[in-house]
């Protein structure tokens, strides 16, 4: 029996030495270590042997089994290594060939910017609300201290909607400021909101003017709100959007519904000062009009200007991606050319 085992052992090892690939190795395993192999048969029939032979043969058989299994593992490792080496030669691919194309989509840069703005102000506790594109003359103008024939109406060239009935005159809002009034009529202080939305102007289009664009209005009303809060809030906003290094200018400006009024401009980096299409050579680009809510506006919506104060600001959205990405023509946003949109 021992001879038989030794013979099996020698033959198996001999055959193992000749195995040249993993498939042959598997059939070698079945042949020599499988359920129907001689070795397995011997191991199963140990109990039939005389008691004195049993330990000797049993030991040897297990020894052979362990040895063959070890041989198998070693051979497999070698073969796998050989396979990799040869496959890396024979099945080498040209990794510089282009990959399978996957279609990707993108969000319009103006939408992205509005989301960015809402995020920044959201972190400062400003909630986002929206209002109607079609507004009444009262909310768009009169409630904001811009009665009919007020000189400031020149600042808001308006597209009017043809009235169907003798109702109130309606128009396409020229700013999202009407929501200031609607909100203050509904809520009492403290108020802290921003209002993104489309606005419309009767304006010829060119590289820096569009007849339709987007605004984000902001409003904070509470006790003890000052121009210093406005300045701090808006400088913080500019820092978040444009980075620490970009210079910010805070100056006096006029809007009928705020007093004192202010404007925020940021440094124009795109330009070499002379003949810059974005800033016209001044080196500054206005991005925000702002100010303290006019006491008459507060009084009109029933908020006591002796007790409460507030600030409001409004910004054109398109300017921001123009500045961030160096876009020199606002009309690109609404031409919706994929060669443009896919860059964002």
């Amino acid at each position: 029996m021992l001879e038989l085992l030794n013979g099996l052992h020698a033959q198996a090892l001999d055959e193992l030495g000749k195995v040249s690939d993993l498939r042959e190795l598997e059939s070698w395993r079945v042949r020599h270590l499988g359920k129907k192999s001689d070795l397995t048969r011997i191991l199963r029939s140990l109990s039939a042997l005389p008691a004195e032979e049993r330990p000797v043969v049993g030991n040897r058989a297990n020894e052979v089994k362990r040895d063959l299994e070890a041989g198998l593992r070693d051979r497999e490792a070698i073969l796998r290594q050989d396979f990799l080496v040869s496959a890396s030669q024979s099945q080498r691919l040209d990794a510089t060939l282009p990959g399978r194309p996957f279609a990707y989509g993108g969000i319009h840069p103006v939408t992205q910017t509005i989301e960015d703005i809402c995020d920044v102000f959201g972190q400062m506790g400003f909630q986002t609300v929206e209002g109607p594109d079609v507004e009444t003359e009262y909310y768009n103008f009169e409630a904001l201290n811009i009665p009919q024939h007020h000189p400031a109406r020149d600042m808001f060239a308006t597209l009017w909607i043809e009235p169907d009935t003798a109702g109130e005159q309606i128009l396409l809002r020229t700013h999202t400021s009407p929501m200031q009034i609607r909100l203050m009529e509904e809520q009492s202080p403290p108020i802290r909101v921003i209002v993104p939305g489309r606005v419309y102007r009767y304006e010829a289009t060119d590289a820096t003017h569009e007849s339709m664009f987007h605004h984000v209005e902001g409003l904070a009303v509470d006790k003890n709100i000052t121009l210093a809060d406005l300045k701090g809030t808006l400088i913080e906003f500019c820092r978040c959007l444009f980075g620490e290094e970009r210079k910010v200018r805070f100056r006096c400006d006029y809007f009928p519904f705020v007093e004192p009024g202010a404007e925020i401009a940021i440094e124009c980096l795109a330009c070499t000062v002379d003949g810059c299409r974005l800033c016209g050579g001044s080196g500054w680009i206005e991005i925000l009009g702002a100010g303290m809510v006019h006491p008459d506006v507060l009084a009109r919506v029933g908020i006591n200007p002796e007790v409460y104060s507030g600030f409001a600001f409004g910004m054109g959205v398109e300017r921001l991606p123009m500045l961030r990405y160096g876009i020199d023509d606002i009309r690109l946003f609404y031409s919706n050319d994929l060669r443009f949109l896919r860059q964002f």
Partner: protein
């Protein structure tokens, strides 16, 4: 407003550079638009005198002019018809940089031979000097221009172009800007005297003034000068007018313009001898009355407009423009100077109706202070006497029906701190206000400063206005940058309509961009034709809102659908993109009817009383190849099932279960579109584009369109999620092939299968029609996965369920198992 630095220096000492000055003014609210350096390039241009003129030997139109520069003389060829002996003219030496009259480019002057004669320089036109576009004649300087001096010393100037906000008409004047500079740089303002000598009769005996419309004319002042000689105004005045952008006319008109630029008060000069009845009546225009203004246009007036009339007729549209009937001409000997205050609304209304603006109306329509007229009138009288001679009648007329008590305005350091967050002492407050011309009175309660608003300001009405004055002069850069420290307002809850709307939008955007769609944003204003194109076979159902004053026909109506904008954009991109295109837009459509007042309507749609309904929609299109052609895949064209699959994915992401039914939507190819229903509610539509629509939009290839009604999704609580437990027990997979009549829809088959609770997944993996089936039949191969939530299903159990299912399939849809 163009302001000459030379002129400003008459009133205030300026130590800053033009740029620094501009920056200071900008910070204080007067924004610098541009700085113009007049004469910067006039290196080799000097003042010369024309001493002789001779005809050119070979050219009739040319003359040979000898120009004396004091120490030297040059002979040049000149083509200008207005050249004359004795004129002082700008003379350019060889090498001077001039603007080429024809090309408009700056070039260095070279010695040239013109028709055989050498020209040793050039006598310049305004265009060649960059002063204006006038190239027909040479610039003739004032007789007092110093011969031999560089032109830059004489004519050169720096002009600040400032944007003046509508609240500051006082700064549409040189003294107004000078006063700002004085306040900002701590310099005293010194204004010229306006004294003049009166003689002869009292003005009241020579002319009478009546105001019959005191509501539109709060004040009317006038003075009279007799025996003047109309002619050119002095050179210095012409220069200043020119640098301010106004063309010199004659000494009378120039004086009125000069004083308007100096003080911001428009003035008007009438030819006194042509006033019928020696009378001025300030009245509303009569119905149907007309006037021919000095620009030669006859204009119809109406009673909302104010006119200046004599006894018989209107002689000026008040504050806007005069008429030829009273215009000052070369023959004029006596002049009535008007300095009045007119209601800004009347001026604006008049300008709008007449479509006419003037330098005067631009100031009046901002609303000038009725205290302003007397001082500029005196100044104009003084200057006119100086420039045109004559005698001033004694006194001035001043009718002031609109006189009102000045409002009491006051401010304290506490107000400045409360509104502006700036700590500033009362002394400083007082100093700033005084520097701006406010008169400060001792207030009752110590720290309050009450002020008298100066007569040139019309924008100071309340404490906040004074706070702005103080802060802008102190400097906005002195305001600290603080953070909002107050308590946060109550935040919107996740269930609030606004947050749900924004969340749904975000969900849709994220899903669609992930599926390869690019977001676009198109104009809500479109043409009627374009709206009509999406439903070619019928009239528009809702008549869209129309803009009363559209920019163009292309932007005349508010869209009632997103389809037209999206398809137009697709057509544009098909021209530049060869592979597949997928686009979507989320936006509002506008419905003229008033919002219905259904309770759930209010809950989601943001509706406002008296305003049209604005519904949010999503529209997506896809066209061309499904995947970009590559060496892996030649690419196949998209079809209906791409669109449907994408829509199904979107709906699944929003947690919406919907069914599909044949659609009659007119934009779609008949029979190749589906309405997407939840219950009976159509929430979306998907289909291949109608070939007529494709053609109308100039689209090529197959195009599919998806439209989703977001208001309805919001009403269905789309996007609100609830966790569904999933089973951990293994599933059994069974494939069945069913033979059915062609008319049976897949949906009806699947709904029978899905009615079994153990069915967790149903996939149609083959659809067969052909030879191996009888005509009119088709076969569905369906893979079903059976799974129980609480145990492992056995083969036998599954077989039983499936057997039952096959029975029901046969009963309900006539399905037979295919062998």
């Amino acid at each position: 407003m163009r302001v000459s630095l030379k002129w400003l220096r008459d009133y205030v000492d300026i130590a800053l550079s033009a740029r620094e000055l501009g920056d200071r003014l900008t910070a204080a609210g007067l924004e610098l638009n541009d700085i113009e350096h007049i004469g910067e390039a006039w290196d080799n241009v000097v003042i010369g005198e024309v001493v002789t003129l001779n005809p050119h030997p070979d050219a009739d139109r040319l003359t040979l002019a000898t120009v004396d520069l004091g120490a030297e003389r040059f002979t040049v060829v000149c083509g200008a018809p207005n050249i004359g002996v004795g004129q002082r003219v700008p003379f350019a030496r060889i090498g001077a940089k001039l603007i080429d009259g024809r090309t408009g480019e700056a070039t260095a002057l070279k010695k040239a031979r013109i028709r055989g004669v050498v020209s040793e320089g050039m006598v310049c036109s305004e265009k060649e000097l960059g002063l204006s576009d006038d190239h027909d004649s040479i610039l003739v300087l004032s007789p007092d221009a110093p011969v031999g001096a560089p032109l830059g010393d004489y004519l050169g100037d720096v002009v600040l172009d400032l944007d003046i906000t509508p609240n500051r008409p006082d700064c549409l004047s040189v003294t107004g800007v000078a006063r700002e500079i004085g306040a900002l740089t701590d310099r005293q303002l010194s204004l010229p005297s306006a004294d003049y000598a009166e003689s002869g009769d009292s003005v009241h005996s020579l002319v009478s003034v009546d105001i019959t419309a005191p509501d539109l004319c709060p004040r009317y002042c006038a003075g009279l000068i007799t025996g003047i000689r109309v002619g050119p105004s002095p050179g210095w005045m012409q220069q200043r007018l020119a640098s301010s952008g106004m063309r010199p006319i004659n000494n009378v008109v120039d004086v009125t313009n000069y004083v308007m630029l100096e003080y911001g008060q428009p003035l008007h000069a009438f030819d006194y001898d042509r006033l019928v009845g020696r009378r001025i009546v300030v009245r509303r225009a009569g119905q149907g009355e007309s006037i021919t203004t000095i620009d030669g246009v006859e204009r119809r007036l109406d009673p909302d407009m104010l006119v200046i009339a004599d006894q018989e007729r209107a002689i000026a549209v008040a504050g806007i423009m005069g008429s030829g009937a009273s215009e000052v001409t070369g023959e004029t000997r006596s002049v009535l100077l008007e300095s009045a205050n007119f209601d800004r609304v009347a001026i604006r209304r008049g300008c709008d109706r007449l479509r006419l603006r003037s330098e005067a109306s631009l100031r009046f329509d901002k609303g000038l202070n009725s205290g302003l007229p007397p001082m500029p009138l005196k100044r104009a009288m003084q200057l006119l006497l100086e420039a045109a001679g004559g005698k001033a009648a004694c006194g001035v007329i001043d009718i002031y029906p609109g006189r009102s008590r000045p409002e009491a305005v006051s401010v304290s350091a506490g107000d400045v701190a409360r509104l502006a967050g700036l700590k500033i002492g009362v002394g400083q407050i007082r100093k700033i206000l005084i520097s701006l011309g406010f008169e400060c009175r001792e207030g009752g309660s110590g720290s309050r400063v009450s002020v008298v608003v100066p007569y040139w300001r019309s924008d100071i009405r309340c404490t906040a206005d004074l706070v702005e004055e103080i802060v802008r002069i102190a400097g906005y850069d002195k305001i600290p940058a603080a953070r909002l420290s107050a308590e946060l307002p109550r935040q919107q809850s996740k269930a609030s309509p606004m947050l749900r709307r924004r969340a749904l939008r975000k969900q849709l955007r994220t899903t669609l961009t992930g599926l390869g769609f690019q977001e676009i944003l198109t104009y809500p204003l479109v043409s009627l034709e374009r709206l009509q194109k999406v439903s070619p076979n019928s009239e528009l159902k809702t008549h869209p809102l129309k803009v009363a004053n559209p920019m163009s026909r292309e932007q005349e109506y508010l869209r009632t659908t997103l389809r037209s904008g999206v398809l137009t954009t697709l057509a544009h991109n098909q021209r530049v993109e060869t592979a597949g295109i997928k686009l979507f837009e989320i936006g509002k459509v506008f419905c003229p009817q008033k919002p219905d007042c259904g309770a759930d309507e209010d809950e989601v749609a943001q509706s406002y009383k008296g305003l049209p309904r604005e519904d949010e929609m999503l529209c997506a299109v896809l066209s061309g190849l499904r995947t970009e052609p590559s060496w892996h895949d030649r690419g196949e064209m998209i079809d209906f099932f791409d669109a449907k699959g994408l829509l199904e994915t979107v709906l699944a992401r929003c947690g919406i279960e919907a069914s599909f039914a044949v659609s009659n939507d007119e934009t779609m190819f008949p029979g190749r579109g589906a309405d997407v229903l939840v219950g009976d509610e159509r929430i979306a539509v998907v289909g291949e584009l109608h070939p007529g629509v494709a053609q109308a939009f100039d689209l090529s290839g197959g195009v599919c369109l998806i439209e989703l009604y977001m208001e309805k999704l919001l009403r269905l609580n789309a996007g609100i999620r609830q966790y569904q437990p999933f089973t951990r027990f293994p599933g059994l997979t069974r494939d069945i092939a069913l033979v059915l009549d062609e008319e049976v829809s897949y949906q009806s088959v699947e709904s029978v299968i899905r009615a079994y609770p153990m069915v967790t997944r149903v996939t149609l993996f083959d659809l067969y029609r052909g030879e191996q089936l009888p005509p009119g039949k088709k076969s569905f191969a369906i893979r079903i996965i059976y799974q129980s939530p609480n145990r492992t299903l056995t083969d036998e159990e599954t077989d039983r369920i499936q057997e039952n299912m096959l029975g029901r399939l046969q009963q309900e849809v006539g399905a037979v198992l295919r062998n």
